[in-house]
């Protein structure tokens, strides 16, 4: 890490471990997923949590938001939600005789889009567009979203009736897709005996600030990736494009996403350079949902197979 970095940066770097610890205290027994979620935030990406209800998706989103000291909004996606409902509307104000824009929940630092697959394709694409651009156009006027604007979306994989699954082409707007899974026995016991999460969340103090997060993202971008790492990354991309069970392999954008996530992971590990291990750690979370399998192959299994097949040249 360059020595000339400002003191503020070092301070925010020093606050990373306590921040991680705090989220882990709220979401029990999911250290790896929590770390990945943090890496996603650090890499400046959006996060898709896909799991059955009740395993703590919302808790994780809350915990991340609270720990990072981000302004937080939550939108429950339903079939009758319209784009205006999340973006906002212009309302005519009698006294001033003009339309005033009332921003929707989108104008926040961290947006929790609950059950995103229940929203209509129209709403979904409005949100995804905002995620991609970092700004929205309302009535011919472009409005910027906050600098740290991040979306954590959840969806329920089992509940298919009356849902609009996100199209493949838009899934890759999410840097990572994570599943929490059931907690292990010890974590479950702790959950059962401990205080209620909602209470704990309310008591949570922020460890980081939005400014910290922005500074850390700058740091992530400065993490160096050597030719050897890039070669390995390219080998992974190439293998995904050649795999017989994969219809459409990883795009160049997926490659960039993979590199960004690996950089964040390296920073979380306290390093200023990426190792192949970093790429491997984030690969499934970043790549699995971007793979389009040939038939009904399991995406995560395919991603794991790629990791096992592609050798890392020393």
């Amino acid at each position: 890490m360059p020595d000339s970095s400002p003191q503020a940066d070092l301070a925010s770097l020093a606050r990373l471990p306590p921040a991680l610890a705090q989220v882990n205290a709220l979401v029990l027994g999911k250290a790896h997923v929590v770390r990945l979620g943090f890496a996603c935030l650090l890499a400046g990406g959006h996060l898709l949590l896909e799991d059955i209800p009740g395993v703590g998706k919302t808790t994780l989103a809350h915990a991340l938001a609270a720990t990072c000291g981000l302004g937080f909004q939550r939108v429950q996606f339903t079939s009758d939600l319209t784009p205006a409902d999340i973006i906002g509307v212009g309302i005519y104000e009698q006294e001033q005789r003009r339309f005033k824009f009332h921003p929707g929940p989108l104008f926040t630092e961290l947006l929790l889009a609950d059950e995103i697959n229940r929203g209509t394709p129209k709403v979904q694409s409005a949100l995804l567009e905002a995620m991609a651009e970092g700004q929205v156009s309302v009535e011919g006027e472009t409005r910027a979203l906050p600098g740290v604007f991040t979306v954590i979306a959840t969806q329920n994989p089992l509940d298919l009736a009356g849902t609009f699954p996100l199209p493949d082409s838009q899934l890759d707007r999410f840097l990572m897709r994570l599943s929490l899974g059931y907690p292990d026995a010890a974590a479950e016991r702790a959950l059962l005996t401990g205080s209620e999460r909602r209470v704990l969340l309310r008591e949570t103090r922020s460890v980081l600030t939005a400014a910290d997060l922005l500074a850390l993202r700058e740091r992530v971008r400065a993490v160096s990736a050597s030719p050897a790492v890039l070669e390995y990354l390219q080998a992974l991309l190439g293998a995904s494009r050649d795999h017989p069970d994969i219809r459409v392999g990883l795009s160049p954008r997926a490659g960039l996403a993979l590199l960004a996530a690996a950089r964040a992971w390296a920073l979380l590990g306290g390093r200023s350079y990426v190792m192949p291990e970093d790429v491997q750690a984030v690969f499934i979370a970043v790549a699995a949902h971007r793979l389009q399998p040939q038939r009904n192959a399991e995406r995560v299994a395919l991603a794991s197979a790629l990791l096992a097949e592609v050798s890392v040249r020393a």
Binding site: Q73, V75, D242, P244, Q294
Partner: protein
């Protein structure tokens, strides 16, 4: 005749890679020394005969310079044997990617060859009755698209591939048979013309219900920040002292095509498959949502290319 057959059988047992009868093998296939065979070409035999004539001439005339020239030419040409061998040795068939084709169409299969360590020149791949010439630079890979002839739907085993080379001088031919354990799925052929599916809206049926926004709402729920003010049910809100929102039925913007195997009674199975394939294709092109009901499974309702491929695969694999 039987002698020939038994010889061939013995040969196939001893040297499975000499002939086509080689067990199918998993990718990646690396061409090792045991599976590469080298024989002189017709030109090689002719050239060898000429070298012998040159040798005898040089010896007869006791002309050592000519003898030296003959030895030089002979030694350079003998390298052709190794050259042909080396052209194949170490080459890897890394991956095979198949496109999609309907029965009767040409199926494009991409073979990905890699040269992990050094360049391989003057390669020639024989598939069925066509040849593809190519060469690979060192430490690179090359995708070679080949056309496969398809006849019927279902799994198609990749034919045996013969990779050969006469590099560098065309005096020796090295070859190796490749039988990758790869099968490709051939989709059923679509029928060329026929009726549209029931409930597609294309036939003379009453148009499906259409909804106006605001009508036919299914219920109410509490207002959340961000909800559109236009959808607030003011009357109900007034009654309940909280803001309530109207909930609509899911908009039926896209009609659902229900494509059912059982609805096509009276046709033979292949015709049914062909018709269903045409419907699936039309639905996909028209951006429809559709559901495909087959004897053992039901796919959808869904839209998009993944759904299309799932349906066509299911149709292709019907018994």
């Amino acid at each position: 005749m039987s002698l020939l057959a038994s010889l061939r059988a013995r040969l196939a047992r001893r040297h499975p890679s000499l002939l086509r009868q080689r067990p199918r093998e998993a990718l990646p296939i690396e061409l090792g020394q045991r599976r590469i065979y080298v024989v002189p070409t017709a030109f090689g035999i002719g050239f060898g005969a000429m070298l012998i004539v040159m040798l005898l001439g040089a010896l007869n005339y006791n002309n050592n310079a000519a003898l030296l020239l003959t030895c030089l030419l002979g030694a350079a040409c003998a390298q052709s044997m190794y050259g042909a061998f080396r052209a194949l040795h170490g080459l890897r068939l890394e991956a095979i990617r198949a496109g999609h084709a309907e029965a009767g169409q040409a199926l494009i299969v991409e073979l990905r060859f890699a040269a992990p360590r050094r360049a391989h020149a003057g390669l020639c791949l024989h598939v069925d009755a066509t040849r593809h010439d190519f060469s690979i630079a060192a430490d690179t890979a090359l995708s070679l698209p080949i056309n496969l002839h398809t006849e019927r739907r279902g799994w198609l085993d990749l034919p045996a591939l013969k990779l050969e080379s006469t590099w560098p001088f065309g005096l020796f031919r090295a070859w190796s048979w490749l039988r990758p354990d790869v099968r490709v799925l051939v989709y059923p052929a679509r029928e060329t013309a026929g009726p549209p599916p029931l409930g597609s809206g294309a036939e003379s049926m009453p148009a499906p219900r259409s909804h106006e926004l605001g009508e036919d709402y299914a219920g109410l729920r509490a207002y959340q920040p961000g909800d559109s003010p236009r959808r607030i049910a003011w009357k109900a809100s007034a009654r309940n002292a909280t803001l309530l929102l109207r909930l609509h039925e899911p908009p039926d913007a896209q009609a659902l095509w229900h494509l059912r195997w059982n609805a096509l009674r009276g046709l033979d199975p292949e015709t049914r498959i062909m018709r269903l394939a045409r419907w699936v294709d039309e639905a996909q092109r028209g951006g429809q949502r559709w559901q495909l009901d087959l004897p053992a499974q039901s796919l959808g309702p869904d839209a998009g290319s993944a759904h299309y491929h799932a349906c066509m695969s299911a149709l292709a694999l019907l018994p």
